[in-house]
């Protein structure tokens, strides 16, 4: 919880009205974003994203599993987010659980597309090894280490970075296995496949404070919000998911207006993020 005096509240709101926020940013400017990849060697891919004082880690682990009978030619992806009490003492024990589930389902909605897998950031059919028998299960874990607002956008960026860092082992399937049995697979430890992450969307959260909306709100600004809309947008400018947070109602035209603003912001964010990820990966390769 943030305790703000009336004066501070007016200061924040007044600044937003005049397009000059407390940290000197404009309404639609992000804080500097910092990406580090390959920080968890045990995972198939991992990344850490810092957005101001918000600090999150995402890791991707690939395990062999069985496809869902309804979609025999698709792999499975699941997203879990954990809020560490290091970020906020109130997350102690089960305190962070509510936020964790909210973030997990918001991320699943924004990144995994519809039930049939259409519009997903990750091509699920590329995870299938043997139709109906063997596929890759991707477990994406997010950890909020430090939170200063806009955790969802940071997690979305971290997952994107972690996916582009992910290397999935090449798999050989023994051809002579009988068709009704579980086929034997040979997982290579040398050859790896990289993911095509160009389709993974970025998440832009627009927070409505007073009559205006801002991107990348800090905790103080979030405490003053009436509602927020998180939109995930891919490189083609198409909307891949949307979630509304906060109780207050919004007029439908305002939502459409926010979507078009988010679209505009997402282009810059996407380019910035891509160059940061490329820089982080180059730096990672230099070290190893």
């Amino acid at each position: 919880m943030v305790g703000l005096s009336l004066g501070e509240q007016t200061f924040i709101k007044g600044g937003i009205d005049q397009d000059l926020r407390t940290d000197g940013r404009k309404r639609l400017t992000y804080r500097p974003i910092f990406v580090e990849t390959g920080i968890i060697p045990q995972a198939s891919g991992s990344a850490r994203v810092k957005l101001g004082a918000t600090d999150v880690i995402a890791s991707v682990k690939a395990e062999l599993g069985k496809p869902n009978p309804s979609y025999p030619d698709k792999g499975k992806v699941s997203i879990y987010v954990d809020c560490s009490p290091t970020a906020e003492p109130s997350f102690e024990g089960r305190g962070g659980e509510e936020l964790s589930t909210e973030l997990s389902s918001a991320l699943e909605r924004c990144l995994l597309g519809g039930k049939s897998g259409a519009g997903a950031g990750i091509d699920l059919s590329s995870l299938c090894i043997v139709r109906g028998k063997v596929c890759w299960d991707l477990y994406i874990d997010g950890l909020v280490v430090s939170s200063d607002g806009n955790v969802l956008d940071a997690l979305g960026a971290a997952i994107k970075a972690a996916l582009s860092d992910t290397a999935i082992p090449k798999v050989q399937v023994s051809a002579n296995a009988p068709s009704d049995e579980q086929p034997e697979v040979d997982v290579s430890d040398e050859e790896f496949l990289q993911f095509d992450t160009s389709g993974v969307p970025v998440i832009v959260t627009l927070t409505k404070v007073g009559g205006h909306y801002i991107v990348d709100a800090t905790t103080e600004e979030e405490s003053q919000m009436s509602s927020a809309v998180s939109v995930s947008i891919n490189r083609l400018g198409r909307i891949c998911g949307l979630t509304k947070r906060g109780g207050a109602g919004l007029h439908p035209t305002v939502i459409l207006d926010m979507i078009s603003a988010a679209k505009h912001v997402s282009e810059q964010l996407m380019n910035k993020l891509d160059s940061e990820i490329a820089a982080a990966e180059a730096c990672d390769e230099m070290e190893s």
Binding site: I39, I40, P41, Q42, A43, S46, A53, D55, I57, S59, K61, E63, Y80, D82, S84, P85, T86, A87, E88, P89, E92, G93, R94, E97, Y139, D141, L143, V145, S146, S147, D148
Partner: protein, 241 residues
């Protein structure tokens, strides 16, 4: 299984009495009052300290000393096999308690009556010796938060495999089932505050193994002091003193 080869090298290429690479960084969680990352080889732990602050649960408030609380949690991706464990399982409850008791012993709690200090440790990667790494990280975070302590606490573990005492066990050595002695000391006062051992060990060998672990603690202590000194120097230069 052979844990020490005839040339006297361990599985990860260390000598029996060699520690893993240490790395520490102070002030990683900007919103906390004090925080630190501590790495021992592949084991990586973040600790954050909040407090001293008002006691949240009034019934736990005490009028002559501060309330010290601790929570230990492991990230889902911290172990080799992905796990999805509910929070507050028996192991983490036990480690939370061990860390709390160890830290409580060195904090000058009587100076901060009616207040509460929260220590949160988060394991990012587990490769043996998480207990020790957590205590070392917590010490650094407490020091960063400026909480008065009698001395820093440092911890290190040692084991005994293939008839050789081994310092700072990694995960493979730890899960071999041999004895695992975790020691925590107050280096300046030369006192032991934590001593835990799994499995059995002969009296004579126990003494050598414990001696080895204590030596490890001292090495950690000198490193932690260096880090703290460096941090203080940086703070000093930032202030322009």
């Amino acid at each position: 299984m052979e844990f020490v080869n005839p040339e006297g090298l361990r599985l990860d290429g260390r000598r029996p009495m060699e520690m893993r690479q240490l790395r520490a960084e102070i002030g990683v969680v900007s919103k906390a009052d004090g925080s630190a990352v501590f790495e021992m080889g592949n084991t990586k732990v973040i600790a954050a300290v909040y407090g001293p602050r008002e006691v949240q649960n009034r019934s736990q408030q005490s009028n002559d000393q501060a309330l010290v609380r601790c929570e230990y949690s492991m990230a889902n991706f911290s172990t080799g096999d992905r796990m999805r464990k509910p929070k507050g399982d028996r192991r983490s409850t036990e480690i939370s308690m061990v860390i709390r008791q160890t830290m409580e012993a060195c904090i000058l709690t009587h100076l901060m009556p009616r207040s509460q200090i929260d220590i949160f440790v988060q394991v990012l990667q587990a490769d043996g010796g998480t207990r020790s790494a957590c205590i070392n990280a917590a010490t650094l975070a407490l020091a960063d938060a400026g909480i008065p302590m009698t001395d820093i606490v440092t911890s290190c573990s040692a084991g005994f495999l293939n008839g050789t005492p081994l310092l700072d066990l990694n995960y493979v050595e730890d899960s071999a089932g041999g004895p695992d002695v975790t020691v925590g000391i107050l280096p300046k006062l030369d006192k032991v505050t934590l001593l835990q051992m799994d499995s059995k060990l002969q009296m004579e060998t126990f003494e050598t193994v414990m001696q080895l672990a204590t030596e490890g603690c001292k090495a950690v202590a000198s490193y932690i002091r260096e880090v703290l000194l460096e941090n203080t120097k940086q703070l000093e230069s930032r202030r322009g003193v």
